[in-house]
């Protein structure tokens, strides 16, 4: 906490804060909890649409998907904890995001995990990659929420600071929607779930709001261990509570623990809240109120219940074998007060309870003076910063480079690019990710019509007549480094394009904004640009932003990561009668490319593999994108194609190769020279079209004003582009499939 912030606290209280008050303000006013550097920018994002039931600012965004059903969605980062302890960091990230979803009354049905690491040739990176994936697998599978898709990117800028983002989606009958609200003086706050330990104390502020120094011992005590079994029971108990109408609201305990959860629920209604630290079940004896109120122990929820319902609530919790105790009471004081020994076990204030077994009697129990007493809104009303913005000094120089020109000199027309293609397919960024997602239960609930491995994941909604959701997560850090505004737009375009490929129309977007140190004006400039770019793209496509998360201080040794806005787009398919076409090429089909190809190699995978990180990112033509998405969604819905695939990393050559591998069939096409083979021009989709449907497809494209070109035909056992490359499907598949497993097994030198 800065001196100015401390002065603001003294102003607010008109006295010096107590130790507990100071601790609460310092976690609640941390960057992580208060968004003090980002709030002034986030207002520029569009958030409204008729189907948005709950926008940003609550536990999760909620949208109406029809048939009486709503969907809750949210994304969060757990970058810093995962850098300290990858398994538990990732595991508790999954646990946290799932709690956000069921606290809204939604049953969590899917997780997605956009991940970023340094290059895999570094042993520490392999250790982090292995640990993070096992953590997501270990927690997600056991808690019973399938991980249906995600993203893995390897780039040197993440070596010291990996990114672990997790998205969760839940469904709920519209009438079960609850907002975490504490209303009605005399109502009780019941703490459910795990006991409160010293783990994670100061976690939010310490880990997420300061630069991460590798191997820093001091951060270790705050490592939290996830308990997916406890969380599974909490999901069932909380949903049953809400179904039975036994709770007015439930709130998860996340960053800043009980101080945040208890004060926030009451602040939203203008009520007050008294909390008794002595009533909180503690894991270790001798914990003081500061530790109790700021602990970030996992798997805890706070339910607001009426005194009449208390017994039934306790019985229900007992049936699910979870601990539950009254720890607070709603008041109309407008204050957040913490006592240490004030309630009896049913929440009657003024009693002098026995301390929990093993604890010494609280020293201040008898005088019943609060150990903290603050205006309830003030904790959540942190400072607001307008930090200085400035583009990086080297931006002009970086943008002036043109890798296309240089690569064209090195690989003039006529060069055999077969080796280049195989090398790209074996790049961990492009290679098969099934080593990752095979470790995730991606099928639970029998909804997964299209799981990981294609463009968007498609989940049917069994509760409806044929509705389905399509989901995709994407981030384009390298493009954003070259132009954060365009990079953010390209991320939105790619996610929306993936969703369109399954025949869905986009409904909403959530974002996770991973940036460096906000005290660097370059980082704040990148942030501001990215917010504007994202806003523009969302407006152009008509997609409201229903939630987000900001993660700053992603840096190591003073070097910031590339700005990495990650987005998740959710789309709706109205009537899913059969699985969407998928990405496989079909023998005998014609191959059609939609969208315009330009020699755009700045920030591309191919250029990066040749050591060129500079240039300009591809153009993000928002209007053209919208036309393409509408056309593609229609073609997919009407089953006009046998297969279709979004064209992104590695360009059209890689997209075609992936389609060939999926279909087990080769192709013969003409895609031009190196610049067009591997260009990453945005807003392109490759189609596999039955010969009898080609004319209609081309006709539809032309009336939609989308450029379309027949590239060639599917068939045979070779991938061939005249004058460019020729490799067997088998060789391509081997390069693509073996890359990650062979790195991960040949070098099982992982250690702590």
């Amino acid at each position: 906490m800065t001196d100015a912030e401390l002065a603001a606290v003294v102003d607010e209280l008109e006295r010096e804060p107590t130790g507990l008050e100071l601790a609460m303000y310092s976690v609640m006013w941390s960057e992580h909890c208060s968004y003090k550097s980002s709030r002034s920018h986030l207002g520029r994002l569009p958030t409204e649409a008729p189907w948005v039931l709950v926008g940003p600012g609550e536990g999760a965004g909620v949208i109406d998907v029809g048939d009486g059903l709503a969907v809750a969605i949210r994304i969060e980062s757990h970058n810093h904890p995962s850098a300290v302890e990858p398994y538990q960091g990732a595991a508790t990230g999954v646990g946290g995001i799932i709690r956000d979803i069921f606290s809204m009354g939604a049953r969590p049905i899917a997780v997605m995990d956009p991940l970023r690491f340094g290059p895999l040739d570094d042993p520490r990176t392999r250790y982090l990659f292995e640990g993070v994936v096992s953590g997501i697998s270990g927690y997600g599978n056991a808690v019973g929420v399938p991980t249906v898709g995600g993203e893995v990117v390897f780039d040197e800028c993440y070596t010291g600071n990996p990114l672990v983002n997790v998205l969760c989606l839940g469904v709920l009958p519209k009438e079960r929607l609850v907002l975490a609200r504490a209303e009605g003086a005399g109502n009780l706050a019941v703490l459910m779930g795990s006991s409160t330990g010293r783990d994670g104390i100061g976690g939010a502020s310490v880990l997420a709001s300061a630069g991460f120094v590798e191997g820093s011992e001091t951060k270790r005590p705050s490592v939290q261990v996830g308990d997916p079994f406890e969380e599974k029971k909490l999901i069932e108990a909380c949903l049953e509570l809400l179904d039975a109408g036994l709770a007015i609201g439930v709130q998860d305990l996340g960053a800043a623990g009980l101080s945040c959860a208890a004060s926030e629920t009451a602040a939203k209604t203008g009520a007050g809240m008294d909390v008794d630290a002595a009533r909180v079940a503690k894991r270790e004896p001798g914990m003081n109120p500061v530790e109790v109120l700021t602990s970030e122990s996992q798997e805890r929820m706070l339910a607001i219940v009426t005194p009449e319902n208390l017994d039934e609530v306790l019985v229900l919790c007992d049936r699910w074998e979870i601990r539950a105790s009254v720890v607070g009471r709603v008041t109309d004081s407008g204050r957040f007060r913490v006592y240490d020994g004030y309630f009896d076990s049913v929440g009657v204030p003024g009693a002098n309870p026995l301390p929990p077994l093993g604890d010494d009697p609280p020293e201040v129990s008898s005088d019943r003076e609060p150990v903290a007493d603050v205006p309830i809104g003030s904790l959540g009303d942190g400072p607001l910063y307008h930090r200085p913005l400035a583009p990086p000094d080297d931006l002009d120089v970086r943008q002036a480079a043109d890798p296309a020109r240089e690569l064209f000199t090195r690989f003039p027309p006529g060069t055999d690019l077969s080796g280049e293609l195989l090398d790209l397919l074996a790049s961990p960024n492009i290679a098969d990710k099934s080593w990752v997602w095979r470790q995730y239960d991606h099928q639970l609930f029998l909804n997964t019509v299209a799981g990981p491995g294609g463009d968007a994941s498609v989940l049917r909604l069994k509760e409806t007549e044929g509705r389905a959701l399509a989901l995709s997560v994407d981030g384009k850090g390298r493009f954003a480094a070259l132009d954060p505004r365009v990079g953010a737009q390209l991320a939105v375009l790619e996610a929306a394009r993936n969703v369109a490929c399954s025949g869905a129309r986009p409904l909403a977007l959530v974002n996770c904004l991973n940036f460096g140190n906000p005290e660097h004006p370059e980082v704040m400039w990148q942030f501001s640009e990215a917010v504007d770019g994202m806003g523009d793209a969302c407006r152009a496509l008509g997609i409201p932003v229903v939630g987000g998360n900001v993660s700053f201080y992603n840096e190591s040794h003073g070097v910031d990561i590339d700005p990495t806005p990650v987005v998740g787009v959710i789309g709706l398919i109205d009537d899913l009668v059969s699985p969407p076409p998928g990405i496989a090429l079909r023998e005998g089909d014609r191959i059609v490319l939609l969208g315009a190809t330009r020699p755009e190699l700045g920030g591309s995978e191919w250029a990066t593999r040749h050591g060129m990180r500079d240039g300009r990112p591809p153009v993000a033509d928002l209007a053209a994108a919208r036309l393409l998405h509408d056309l593609v969604a229609g073609l997919a819905t009407d089953r006009m194609v046998g297969g279709l695939h979004d064209c992104s990393d590695g360009g059209v050559a890689v997209a075609l190769a992936e389609m060939a591998i999926a279909g087990g069939v080769g192709f013969r096409v003409a895609v031009g020279d190196a610049r067009t083979c591997f260009s990453e021009s945005a807003s392109r989709v490759v189609l596999s079209v039955g010969p009898e449907q080609v004319n209609e497809v081309l006709g539809r494209a032309s009336s939609a004003k989308v450029p379309a070109m027949v590239l060639g035909d599917a068939g045979g056992s070779d991938l061939r582009s005249d004058g460019a490359f020729s490799v067997t499907v088998e060789a391509a598949e081997r390069a693509w499939r073996d890359a990650i497993p062979s790195i991960m097994t040949a070098t099982s030198d992982v250690g702590y």
Binding site: F229, K232, W320, Y440
Partner: protein
């Protein structure tokens, strides 16, 4: 009245509603049996479904097998009633001693969620009566502990008595003798690691599991008729 399949739910179980959905899609009836229940009233067959009963802590199935409901399941099994354990349910049945052997961590020490090919080896079980021996079914697995082990004597017995119900065509987890599922001597108790309910709808990629679920429904119906007469 159609036969009723009871599906056991321990804390941590997560496939109970999936099994119920698949059974109901096939026209069967199913209800959830909470682990604290002693009484299987009205149930003609029991499925112990997949998931992570009690978090899989200590050992998979170790704590679950002491649940009150398991006593009744053992009685049903002893009386010849159909009892099928899928994945975590298989692990629970082994711990409970209703099936021999145990399931250890996969040889690769990784959780595996993928479709595998299974060869039907024995049709003398409530789960495979409608399949043909030698049929190859494509059904997803979803486990960390699917690596079947038992003593050499037990293995000899399983082989000698045609009690290996299904084998992996391409062993994914190091399982002894490629075992994916086994049965008791009478054939009314079966455990298997793969999830037939996940292969019960072409929309999800495969309906090869339907023949197994139909076999189970047929066994339940037979038992219900037997009890009625």
């Amino acid at each position: 009245m159609s036969a009723m399949v009871g599906i056991v739910q321990f804390p941590g179980t997560n496939c109970e509603l999936d099994v119920q959905h698949a059974v109901e899609q096939l026209g069967g009836s199913a209800k959830i049996l909470f682990h604290t229940e002693h009484d299987l009233a009205g149930v003609d067959a029991v499925v112990v479904p997949g998931g992570f009963a009690h978090g899989d802590y200590l050992r998979t199935g170790a704590i679950a097998r002491f649940s009150p409901v398991m006593e009744s399941v053992a009685q049903l099994a002893a009386a010849g009633g159909p009892v099928v354990g899928i994945c975590n349910g298989f692990q629970v049945l082994c711990e409970a001693g209703l099936l021999p052997g145990a399931l250890q961590k996969n040889a690769g020490l990784k959780f595996l969620c993928e479709s595998v090919d299974l060869r039907v080896e024995s049709t003398a079980s409530v789960l495979t009566s409608q399949a043909r021996s030698g049929d190859v079914l494509r059904i997803p697995i979803n486990h960390f502990e699917g690596n079947y082990v038992c003593s050499p004597e037990t293995l000899a017995e399983l082989r000698g008595e045609d009690r290996v119900v299904m084998r992996y065509v391409d062993n994914p987890n190091g399982s002894l003798d490629d075992i994916a599922g086994i049965r008791n001597a009478a054939g009314n108790v079966v455990g298997l690691m793969p999830h037939p309910e996940r292969a019960s709808d072409a929309m999800l990629g495969s309906d090869d599991g339907v023949v197994l679920l139909r076999s189970l429904l047929a066994a339940a119906t037979k038992r219900s008729a037997l009890l009625a007469s």
